[in-house]
């Protein structure tokens, strides 16, 4: 996945990069343009001085040489005109100075003259530098100003977007709180807000309907179940049936029992969803586990060992506490072979339930899903751990699973719970 950059820093970065490129490019262009311009000016000046000198010579005026600016010499023959740069020692400043030099040969009144005109380039170089530097500073200043101005403005324009994004992050289907979104005078943001509101309210309504539906279904199903149950109870008492029919009828009763359990668990899940368990009591889970073990002992199923390093007190609904322990332990019972041991460990803020197993679960991340089963053990409704997970989520407990030393281990961390 590509690295994610914040919108504002991304646009700022682009802006600054463009600014930098523009500054460099414009400075280069300006440098060459100004340099060219200055050179032309210098050459124009050289030619015009040379013209003045030759003019003076034509008019028989005495023209003195003034090295290095101008030198006039009589020569034997004419040579081609040369325009070049040259370095000449300047004793006044004790350094070599760059000059632009025009040397021409002219025939004036039957004499051949070599006229050399020079002008100092250094001066124009400083001008060039000054121009380029001021250009760069202007650009940089303008960009810095624009950068801060734009960033501030962008932040302000995008603020409703960021606010709404935060609001959406906090959005929860189960929360009763309404989604509060900020409107914006930017059309697109305003549209976005309307669409989010539309979608979230639709999702919420759908969710509520589904919840209501589940609740109604599990409620409605109870009456027909009750009728079937009652009729079966009468059949085995009223009618002359044979042993085989009795077997079959009691087998129907078993399935009915499963249906009852299933229905009961769905009701529990819906009730947790509907926040109907609101009692808050401090419960000793250690004590509760000991009571449960006594109950299970009567069923003579498994060897359940409970080690308590510290008494585990939790604030929660007592009914849910009962379900939590019950489901965890009965899950361990259902998924371990007979006569293998189940161990439970309680600490101050920690609960561990483990049972023996052949191999790790294939998809432990799916454990909390409703009706997720990894074996076809039909004693399991596939809802027990979903309920455990739901209870953990409700109170902020952290539930985890791992497989170690041929044991399935379920941990619940009660730290940081409310």
């Amino acid at each position: 996945m590509r690295k994610k950059t914040k919108l504002i820093s991304k646009t700022s970065k682009n802006f600054l990069l463009t600014g930098l490129i523009l500054t460099i490019f414009s400075s280069i262009v300006l440098y060459f343009y100004t340099k060219n311009l200055l050179q032309e000016e210098i050459e124009e000046e050289l030619y015009s001085t040379e013209a003045r000198v030759s003019d003076a010579l034509e008019n028989h005026k005495i023209v003195y040489s003034l090295p290095p600016v101008s030198e006039i010499k009589k020569v034997k023959k004419l040579r081609p005109e040369i325009l070049k740069d040259t370095l000449i020692y300047d004793p006044s400043q004790d350094e070599m100075e760059l000059f632009r030099e025009l040397s021409t040969y002219k025939k004036i009144h039957d004499d051949y003259y070599h006229i050399t005109i020079r002008t100092l380039v250094v001066e124009s170089g400083s001008i060039l530098l000054a121009i380029v530097i001021s250009n760069i500073s202007l650009f940089v200043l303008a960009f810095i100003f624009l950068f801060y101005f734009n960033t501030a403005r962008n932040l302000k324009i995008w603020q409703p977007f960021f606010d709404n994004l935060e609001a959406m992050k906090k959005f929860s289907l189960t929360s009763k709180e309404a989604l509060l979104l900020t409107d914006s005078d930017v059309l697109e943001f305003s549209d976005l807000k309307d669409q989010i509101e539309f979608l979230t309210s639709k999702v919420k309504v759908d969710y509520e309907n589904l919840k209501q539906f589940t609740e109604n279904i599990s409620h409605e199903i109870q009456t027909p179940l009750a009728i079937i149950q009652a009729k079966i109870d009468n059949i085995i008492n009223e009618h002359a049936i044979n042993d085989l029919q009795f077997e079959q009828i009691t087998s129907i009763q078993k399935d009915l029992q499963r249906l009852k359990q299933l229905n009961k668990k769905i009701t529990t899940l819906t009730k947790i969803d509907n926040n109907q368990y609101v009692r808050m009591e401090t419960i000793s889970l250690t004590e509760l586990i000991d009571e449960k073990i006594e109950d299970y002992k009567e069923l003579d199923l498994h060897n359940i060992a409970h080690i308590s390093n510290d008494e585990l007190f939790i604030k929660m609904d007592p009914f849910l506490a009962d379900i939590l322990i019950n489901n965890l332990v009965s899950n361990a019972i259902k998924h371990s072979s007979k006569n293998s041991s189940i161990s439970i460990l309680t600490e101050k803020q920690f609960l561990k339930v483990s049972n023996s197993g052949e191999s790790s679960l294939i998809h432990p991340e799916k454990l909390h899903l409703r009706f997720y089963r990894e074996d076809t053990n039909n004693r399991s409704t596939g809802l027990g751990l979903a309920i455990v997970r739901k209870i953990c989520d409700l109170y902020g407990f952290k539930m985890s699973y791992h497989f170690e030393g041929h044991r399935h281990i379920f941990n619940i961390d009660f730290k940081n719970s409310n």
Partner: protein, 224 residues
């Protein structure tokens, strides 16, 4: 005994009536709120089996009428709603027991006998069946006046058997009565057999041979 079954599901109402009539009880039925309220104004019942969600009114209002009219009927609420609030409200208004649908008729019957037994009707804490008598206060069983030592489950089993005497009880029904929801943890109901067998031995040793096998895998508490 005279029962009123106020239940708007006719099938369920009839099944309950059918089951309860077998002991020679008189069962009247009411299929909606008005019928139920009319009947309780006019007649006296020993037990009212009351559905909380009657078509045209709430069973809780029936309870209020009973209270106002100072009727002494024992009331067992049957509800499709397993809500603690409903249960507490019902019991607060004077109901004696609360059952969530679906339930076994044998379970209902044993609850009814328990309600009838309680002191409210001048009843005694004694269950008697021929030479067997059970003191429900001290939870002790006697055969011919001689106390027999029973475990908690064996005691519950004996009371359940006597409450549903003459009826076939499958292992499923017994398991559910004894262990409630935990019974779904059982692979099979073999070890119920152990409990029943122990009880049977203890009773037989004293000459009370009432636990009979029915249809191979069910049980029936019946005199010879």
């Amino acid at each position: 005994m005279k029962y009123l079954i106020a239940e708007d599901e006719i099938d369920l109402q009839q099944s309950i009536a059918q089951y309860l009539t077998r002991d020679g009880n008189i069962c009247e039925v009411a299929s909606d709120y008005h019928e139920a309220s009319d009947k309780i104004y006019i007649y006296d019942y020993d037990i009212i089996i009351l559905d909380i969600n009657l078509i045209s009114g709430s069973g809780l209002d029936i309870l209020k009428i009973l209270k106002k009219e100072k009727k002494s009927a024992g009331v067992i609420i049957i509800s499709a709603n397993n809500s603690l609030n409903d249960k507490l409200e019902g019991l607060d208004l004077g109901a004696d027991d609360y059952m969530t649908k679906p339930f076994h008729l044998a379970e209902l019957n044993s609850r009814i006998t328990a309600v009838l037994r309680r002191g409210k009707f001048g009843g005694k804490d004694l269950i008697e069946f021929h030479e067997i008598s059970i003191d429900t206060k001290s939870r002790t069983a006697y055969v011919n006046g001689k106390s027999i030592l029973l475990t908690k489950k064996e005691y519950d089993l004996l009371v359940f058997f006597i409450s549903n005497k003459g009826r076939v009880l499958s292992k499923e029904i017994i398991a559910e009565h004894l262990w409630g929801d935990h019974s779904d943890l059982l692979d099979n109901f073999d070890f119920i057999y152990v409990h029943i067998n122990n009880l049977r031995k203890k009773l037989t040793a004293e000459g009370a041979k009432y636990i009979k096998t029915a249809y191979g895998s069910g049980y029936k508490f019946i005199e010879d």
